[in-house]
Assembly symmetry: C2
Homo-oligomer: 336 residues x 2
DNA sequence: CTCGTGTATTGAGTCGTTTCAATCTGCGGC
DNA sequence: GCCGCAGATTGAAACGACTCAATACACGAG
């Protein structure tokens, strides 16, 4: 199984390598008869372009990298789909990396993408990666955080106002008369989590009779949610919060499973529950889940847009921070 | 922003390019003092290896490609996570491509992966790709279908016995006394769908009083399921099936939403409902969803295993077909 | 002082594609 | 028959890391 290169195609078609390259990339520049002959040679030999070689020559690849916190979270796959669609319009491929809330994996993906000389990097950051991204960009790889980088105007970014979202959620819980709210989420180092908590704190401050308890988790998964739910269920009802605001829907669904599967804690009667992200499964949950909606696909779409602008813009380029507003979706889990 | 190459690092460190390469790849072969000097030069210049160049030389990349039918389906992200973990153990990267049940995109990803000279390709195929995969392999890219390639022993493959799964589901519906079963799924060209239907047909044949209606969908999404659910709801109750077997959980959840959101068709009293895949959200559905469980992460894990064996095995290599058995999970949606 | 041994380092050649200045070809106009 | 022009084709150089045969060097033994 000899590896076939342009050279062999050229020989077989009786033309030069330059012509083969032209057939591949600019068929218009080559006479129809020659195109025909070259095409025949290509399929006869089963020639497949070597991407590494063309990229080496080109200096940069035709793909963009996206690092997300958790591929198992539908919110991020939605973002990825939006990004992929927009990228495809430009003939770019999306490479999806899953940091899985692990800082080493996040770092490994950034390394990988840089070595691959990707067109640009989109990242939903786990920790403090500002410096890292600066360096990346300085070496020529534009970067767009999909996140709220407070007060950092040196990047373009796309984000949802998570403080506002957190406020919406907690305010809603207060508005239906709940007074002991628990915020469930972690890691605190994830800005989305910190901001949602901050928003909730602000809302609670506006209601003197409402208190906020913070329950930290190790990750934002269904499993962690179930774990917290079980702890809540085990508590004396007097000590139990009457409302839970989970930092995302996965956690909320986990909490919901633990509370209501065994039927002794009723949602929303005993505990009202609200999540965040409004994933497709929230509406179909055992108790349809109230949530904070984010335009996930649009976020991905916009992030790629910004990245492209960033890549073409010159030195005096003005970075754009786009921020979407979250939206409260009320369902049964916070009814009454 | 000059692009730094090994040559410049070598110059700065006062050594040859060969030595720099050795520091990068076989630090043991180089004296500690030299390693030190080279490392310093590398970080001073911000040198980043050019992956394209090394791959060109190496002939093959350190990644494997995975093409799935739908990233938005948690089943596939679970498979991907399993595959990624196993790949990471070998120092390989997983590239995730989403065909989105679109044959052109599937084809485009196969092209892309071949051009990238990936280590191997894992694919959950949409249509008939046997020929395509044969060619791929003939040119040196091993391939493992994550699918049941009936009677094709020329590939290693990993799959779940979908006929058995379909049988389990339909048999279960019959066993709880349902007689008018509707199978909801499509496209028929997807082997998983066809096999599940076939299994259901077999089960129904064993029960003379049970009938099977087939409702085709255009894809396997929540939206399509909701669409079908609305049609069912609109039917005269006499014409309505008393059980629905959906080809996957997304469809089932869609059907469930349409039937029960408006409260006039009760699940399982009026219509029993069973899905397939047992995704994490099935257990948390508004009516906890019965389903057919598949060991998703293990599937991904095993697929990578097989791929690695395929890649190292010689010509007399015996392809292995691994088939997992599905498992019935009964929840409320088929209670009574 | 020479030889042998083993370790450290060198650097030209290679991978396959693209680019682009140079060359070729055919043809109409004069 | 010659000139000029446009379109088609050519082929060598370049991209950057890796390999490996060759070389340099150090040191101990004889």
């Amino acid at each position: 199984m000899a590896t076939v290169s342009v050279r062999e195609v050229a020989a077989r078609a009786g033309v030069s390598v330059g012509t083969v390259s032209n057939v591949l990339n600019r068929p218009g520049k080559v006479s129809p008869a020659t195109v025909e002959r070259v095409q025949t040679a290509i399929s006869a030999l089963g020639f497949v372009r070597n991407d590494a070689a063309r990229r080496l020559r080109a200096g940069r690849s035709r793909s963009i990298g996206l690092v997300v916190l958790d591929v198992a979270n539908p919110f991020f796959t939605d973002v990825a789909c939006g990004a992929e669609d927009r990228a495809a319009e430009e003939g770019l491929t999306l490479l999806l990396g899953n940091s899985d809330e692990n800082i080493d994996r996040e770092s490994a993906y950034l390394d990988l993408f840089e070595e691959q000389r990707v067109h640009g990097v989109l990242i939903s950051p786990l920790g403090e990666v500002g410096d890292r991204l600066m360096r990346l960009r300085a070496r020529g790889t534009p970067t767009v955080p999909v996140d709220r980088q407070t007060a950092v105007h040196s990047f373009s970014s796309v984000a949802v106002d998570d403080v506002a979202g957190g406020h919406l959620a907690a305010e809603h819980l207060a508005s239906i008369g709940r007074t002991r709210i628990a915020f469930v989420g972690g890691l605190q180092s994830i800005r989305q989590v910190a901001d949602r908590l901050e928003g909730a704190r602000q809302a609670v401050r506006e209601h003197p009779n409402v208190s906020l308890e913070v329950i930290s988790t190790e990750s934002l998964s269904v499993l962690q949610g179930r774990f917290v739910g079980e702890q809540l269920r085990a508590r004396d009802p007097v000590d139990r919060p009457d409302a839970v605001f989970a930092a995302n829907d996965l956690l909320a669904i986990g909490v919901l499973q633990a509370l209501s599967m065994l039927g002794d804690v009723r949602v929303p009667e005993d505990v009202a529950l609200i999540g965040y992200d409004d994933i497709a499964f929230a509406a179909a949950a055992i108790v349809p889940l109230s949530s904070i909606h984010q335009p996930s696909a649009l976020i991905g779409h916009t992030a790629v847009d910004l990245l492209l602008r960033e890549a073409t813009g010159g030195d005096d380029f003005v970075h754009e921070q786009i921020e979407f507003q979250p939206e409260l979706i009320v369902r049964e889990s916070t009814a009454g």
